[in-house]
Subunit: 108 residues, 4 copies
């Protein structure tokens, strides 16, 4: 049985994975793609670490704190990058990233 | 914007990832672990392919049909294995696997 | 003990993972990034499926044929896209993708 | 172009991924599987984080130090667990894990 805090983190991670991959896909379709290179890069990094952590939590990894700490740092970096762009997918992604970073910090 | 069918599949995949990793973790804590070896193995395989497909769908992969087809086969194999064991985590995992297999087949 | 064919495939997959991620990184630094969007996308897809298959093979997955078949298709698509671009990283990536696709087909 | 230190780490990570997945597979086939539960668990965790880091390095992640630090901790935990078991696959896995941990620490 998962603790409530873990359940909330898993939901935040799953939302963040979806938002980051959507933003990644949408950035690659933008006209100003040159400006989105940092966003594309961080979207992938963030989606991958969130995906890793979500699975690791569900299998009761003994490295929860260390992994959540790294994940929080990557979520924040991705959120900060996305926040700078006006595209709706970037703003939504920033929201998901910051929520996920907060949830990670409670565990880290 | 995701099609409704993709959204349903992503939710089914996310539930299946959680159920498979829980079942994997619980199997490793069972006394009759020798009997659970096949289950442990398929839980991991299923969680990993579902995690891959969930991300690939969100980034609009051009290989949706091929990946969903393989994922359906792995979900069914995992569901069939889990269904044979009385543990509650195995039965719940079987349910999640079969639901996910159905959702995959609609896309495949 | 791995069969020789599996060992060759694992080496081809590992080379392909490195080449695809290098190409992805280099494409995101190119001036003509707009033209590289398809390449960036396929580089990620190819690296991720190769990474999945390499691990699955090492743990003796029962789904070798199905996974190698999907992996071959994605490697070929990535190789075809990369082959169209003159950048050295794209040409090297195309070579790695086509070699990996061949190795996958021997197993599939 | 990768620095030499990164190339050495990528090779250590790839060897560790193979060794951990072999050991995981072999542990699941052992008669004394009850005693191998911790090893199975850590083999998976270690293979997954090494696979993540190998890819992240190749795409020039900005989080090299943080990720290598977590990876070193997981490699050491897996190496310590494997070292306690006489099976040849466990001893080989321990060697690969400790080599990989050392390579991670040079970057972290």
């Amino acid at each position: 049985m998962l603790h409530k805090q873990h359940q909330q983190l898993i939901e935040a991670l799953q939302s963040c994975i979806v938002a980051c991959n959507h933003c990644y896909d949408a950035c690659l379709k933008e006209e100003d793609i040159q400006m989105m290179a940092g966003c594309i890069r961080l979207d992938r990094e963030c989606a991958e670490i969130c995906s890793y952590l979500a699975q690791a939590l569900c299998r009761d990894t003994p490295f929860t704190a260390e992994l959540a700490s790294v994940c929080a740092a990557i979520c924040e970096a991705c959120g900060n990058e996305c926040r700078q762009h006006d595209h709706e997918h970037c703003q939504k992604c920033a929201d998901a990233c910051f929520q996920c970073a907060e949830a990670c910090k409670k565990i880290a």
